[in-house]
């Protein structure tokens, strides 16, 4: 009998050992803790493109300019001042001498040059923002050609790019065009400086081309940054911990000593952690739990307008991939589709998080002074008339047309079905719906093997061009393949315009073309949803969904 018991006893001992082996060391609770459903994908400013990556990058690094925590207006960061030439094409930044890296080194102009050059030579998703700099775009492509075939193509000359280090504390940037929102861009991670000396140990040099790349492990704890916080711990898909930087120039305005990000994939688990008091902030509340919390009248659910819209992207090529005619290439068909379904039901019954029905691509309220005219209203009768004018009068369906959507977003299936039902009721058209996994859907949209799909666009910076650029005939993001020469010309004129008012008028006219020509049918303007209690300070409710932890703190005296 004793011998029999020895087996379970041994197993239990083994288990206790295993727990010790697999558990992480516990640290005291951070001053501010928040929970997100996914881990950051990368902390390399060169490669990042996701919101959760940006959020931490703003803690670890700081650009020439930064964002005010509450208004998100650009404010001086590493640069204490800037001289802008009268034609607004030359920016001379003066770096503050008190700006330090977390290892004590001075932040100098060369650190920016190094990081920006890396953006061009090892391009990432946001390298295109550097195209505003003189000769940066040709340099990026020439360098890529050189890497692809070093025997045939010459290594391009970096000195052609409009970047000059005048002295360690002065950086001159020459632009292709007057970019009126350039200071705003200077706060983005794509323009952060990097500390080259500490990255040297991760250097990998290709012997054939001399091309230098860096193992991305350089972003692990120990990474040298110049922001308000230092990365202390990063346990994959568990937690990230930041601690206040002792060398940051503006450390007097950093109220929290530590910030912790926990990773909880399950929505219910996330909310339970919040209810248990383990965390102070949840930056996205899912539609699985959000509406119920709102209906209970809770005042810690904060719903506010977002910085973009959801829409049906329509593929506009005259023919589909298989050679058959695309009914959507007829504007009247697109108008009929756009006017024959109500978006209120989608907002109220499917999304349920305060979304507003949309008739335009750009939300009308996000750019003060930028006028957005309403687009096509719901008018089923007029829609029928328009359809009757086309070859599809009395048709039962539109050949080759279906609604494609990604299965990874829960609400899309209900949305697609709802729209198809309304089209059947109001136009008599049977449009099938088609669900695909997000990667498959993406590939089909890239290859233009689709007709209608649910898409969205969230802007990056406080200027309408962050939306209109997507629709340029040369843009990789122009999924509908909409080509309008008037639109391209208006946008190009706007790019050269130095007067902000005139520039807005040009972009307004361009934007009107997008809504009129219906390369997309707007569905709703998105919202952001935060969950935090009244004792949390410094979190803004700006549509851009950017939180600067520099000024965030929790008042523990009141309790929660």
């Amino acid at each position: 009998m004793l011998r029999l018991l020895s087996i379970p006893a041994a197993l239990i001992l083994l288990m206790i050992g295993a727990i010790a082996w697999s558990s992480s060391q516990s640290t005291p609770r951070a001053d501010f803790t928040f929970v997100i459903p996914r881990d950051v994908l990368t902390l390399d400013p060169n490669q990042m493109s996701y919101l959760q990556d940006f959020r931490l990058a703003y803690c670890i690094w700081e650009g020439l300019y930064a964002y005010d925590g509450m208004t998100l207006d650009p404010v001086p960061g590493v640069a204490s001042s800037v001289d802008i030439s009268p034609d607004k094409r030359v920016y001379t930044f003066h770096l503050r001498p008190e700006a330090k890296w977390s290892n004590g080194d001075d932040v100098v102009a060369g650190d920016f040059l190094f990081a920006w050059r890396r953006m061009l030579e090892s391009p990432g998703e946001y390298s295109y923002l550097h195209y505003y700099i003189k000769a940066a775009e040709p340099y990026l492509h020439a360098y890529a050609d050189f890497l692809a075939d070093p025997d045939k193509n010459k290594k391009p000359d970096f000195s052609t790019v409009g970047l000059r280090v005048i002295d360690p504390h002065t950086l001159r940037v020459e632009l292709e065009n007057p970019v009126l929102f350039f200071l705003e861009l200077m706060g983005m991670p794509a323009f952060f400086p990097l500390h080259e000396p500490s990255m040297r140990q991760y250097r990998e040099v290709d012997p054939r081309t001399g091309n230098v790349t860096y193992n991305r492990k350089f972003t692990r704890p120990g990474v040298v940054g110049n922001g308000p916080f230092v990365l202390k711990t990063w346990e994959f898909k568990r937690r990230v911990r930041l601690e206040k930087s002792p060398t940051y120039w503006d450390r007097g305005h950093v109220p929290s000593n530590s910030i912790e990000q926990l990773c909880v994939e399950d929505m219910l688990g996330e909310v339970l952690r919040y209810e248990a008091g383990d965390c102070d902030w949840i930056p996205e509340v899912s539609s699985e739990v959000g509406p119920e919390m709102v209906s209970k009248g809770r005042n810690d659910v904060h719903i506010f307008p977002g910085f973009g819209s959801y829409y049906l992207t329509l593929m506009l090529r005259p023919q589909f991939k298989d050679g058959s005619d695309n009914p959507l290439s007829d504007l009247r068909v697109r108008q009929a589709l756009a006017m024959s379904f109500e978006k209120e039901t989608i907002c109220d019954n499917i999304m349920r998080m305060g979304e507003k029905p949309a008739t335009t691509y750009i939300p009308p309220t996000i750019f003060p002074g930028f006028n957005v005219k309403p687009g096509y209203p719901f008018d089923a009768k007029r829609a029928r008339e328009l359809l009757d004018q086309t070859a599809f009068r009395g048709a039962k369906t539109l050949p080759g047309v279906s609604i494609l959507y990604s299965s990874n977003t829960l609400t899309f299936a209900a949305m697609a079905q709802n729209i198809a039902n309304q089209w059947r009721a109001n136009l008599g058209l049977e449009i099938p719906v088609e669900q695909q996994e997000s990667k498959v859907r993406r590939e089909r949209v890239n290859n233009k093997e689709y007709s209608i799909t649910i898409g969205d666009w969230i802007g990056d910076y406080q200027d309408p061009s962050t939306f209109t650029d997507k629709m340029l005939s040369t843009s990789v993001n122009n999924d509908s393949d909409w080509k309008n020469m008037d639109f391209d010309r208006l946008c190009a004129d706007a790019t050269r315009e130095t007067d902000p008012q005139k520039r807005y008028r040009l972009l307004e006219r361009a934007n009107e073309l997008i809504d009129k020509e219906l390369s997309m049918i707007p569905l709703y303007y998105n919202t952001n949803q935060y969950l935090f209690r009244g004792n949390v300070h410094g979190i803004n409710l700006n549509p851009r969904n950017m939180t600067m932890f520099k000024g965030v703190w929790v008042d523990r005296r009141k309790g929660s």
Binding site: S23, S24, R216, F236, K237, E443
Partner: protein, 310 residues
């Protein structure tokens, strides 16, 4: 016996190589790229640079690079989705978590399962039989995410006996362990009940009882050894599955285990991570099947495992 073990182990590399190639073929033909994922598209130049960096532009470059590294250095390469981390980093941090949790669940499941099954067989049609029936029914038919959510709501939400999720201390392991143990417990209870009923009616039991051996000694010593055989054959694959983690349980209790990577890596087309996770799982499966075969020989001397190998 040693020959048998050596022969089985010698087969491992070939089996693993075949699994690697088949998995690779599926991974490669699956539509979608590991790079770029959202509405904003990756510039063609940037995409090419990434593909070159990860040897993901051509299938022969992928196969020319990674398998060699795995064999020479045991290095599965960098994760394509989380490029700061190598697949080895991810396996090293997540596998211990899954093994710990899985071990707990397996021990719990086996002990309770065998006990319930045995008691049910002994007290046939009695109260224990009904209890065992209930456990089996619940364990087999109730999906683990429902059971896990119930446990979470009752013991973490209302009673606040256990934390709602996370990993690090013994209290974190209890709820997910119980949730994970439910299914194997049910199977084991059923298997051992049937086997026990069979054994209890055999001649040697009657003889032992007739010789005056006490009832409990007969049941727990003589019968259990025999009744344990079907449970043992179930334990091999069950151990491999349980120890490599459960996607559902890990998600509900936010446990940083390996199970999540089986699903997420495929959704992300994270080719290196898919292959790494598959290879670890396959390796464990092979090892546990071998252990089960060895276990057979130890429990039942009549079984000659070497006969299969020669």
């Amino acid at each position: 016996m040693l020959n048998f073990i050596a022969w089985r182990i010698a087969q491992f590399p070939l089996i693993l190589a075949i699994i690697y190639l088949i998995t690779f073929a599926f991974v490669w033909i699956a539509p979608g790229s590991p790079f770029g994922n959202q509405e904003r598209q990756l510039d063609e130049t940037a995409k090419l640079a990434l593909e070159r960096r990860f040897h993901a532009d051509k299938w022969y470059k992928f196969l020319g690079n990674y398998p060699k590294q795995i064999i020479l250095h045991g290095d599965f390469g960098p994760s394509m989705q989380y490029a700061e981390w190598t697949v080895n980093d991810i396996l090293k941090t997540s596998l211990p978590v899954s093994i710990t949790l899985g071990l707990f669940a397996l021990v719990l499941g086996t002990l309770i399962g065998v006990a319930v099954g045995t008691l049910a067989a002994v007290h046939r049609d009695g109260i224990f039989d009904w209890i065992s029936l209930a456990i089996v029914l619940v364990g087999i038919s109730l999906p683990s995410f429902i059971f896990a959510a119930l446990l979470l709501m009752i013991f973490a939400g209302w009673l606040e006996w256990f934390p709602v999720g996370g990993w690090g201390s013994f209290s974190d392991i209890v709820l997910p362990g119980v949730a994970l143990a439910l299914a194997p417990m049910a199977y084991i209870a059923r298997l051992s009940r049937v086997a026990m009923i069979d054994v209890l009616s055999s001649d040697f039991v009657r003889t032992a009882r007739a010789k005056g051996v006490s009832r409990s000694v007969v049941i727990w010593k003589h019968c259990l050894r025999n009744a344990f055989l079907p449970v043992l054959s179930y334990l091999g694959p069950a151990a491999a599955t349980t120890l490599t983690g459960s996607f559902v349980i890990e998600r509900v209790f936010s446990i940083p285990g390996l199970g999540q990577h089986f699903v997420n890596s495929i959704q992300n087309r994270d080719r290196t991570l898919i292959l790494g996770a598959t290879m670890v799982y396959s390796f464990l499966l092979l090892v546990f099947n071998l252990l089960v075969d060895i276990g057979y020989a130890l429990v039942d001397p009549r079984i000659d495992v070497t006969a299969k190998g020669s």
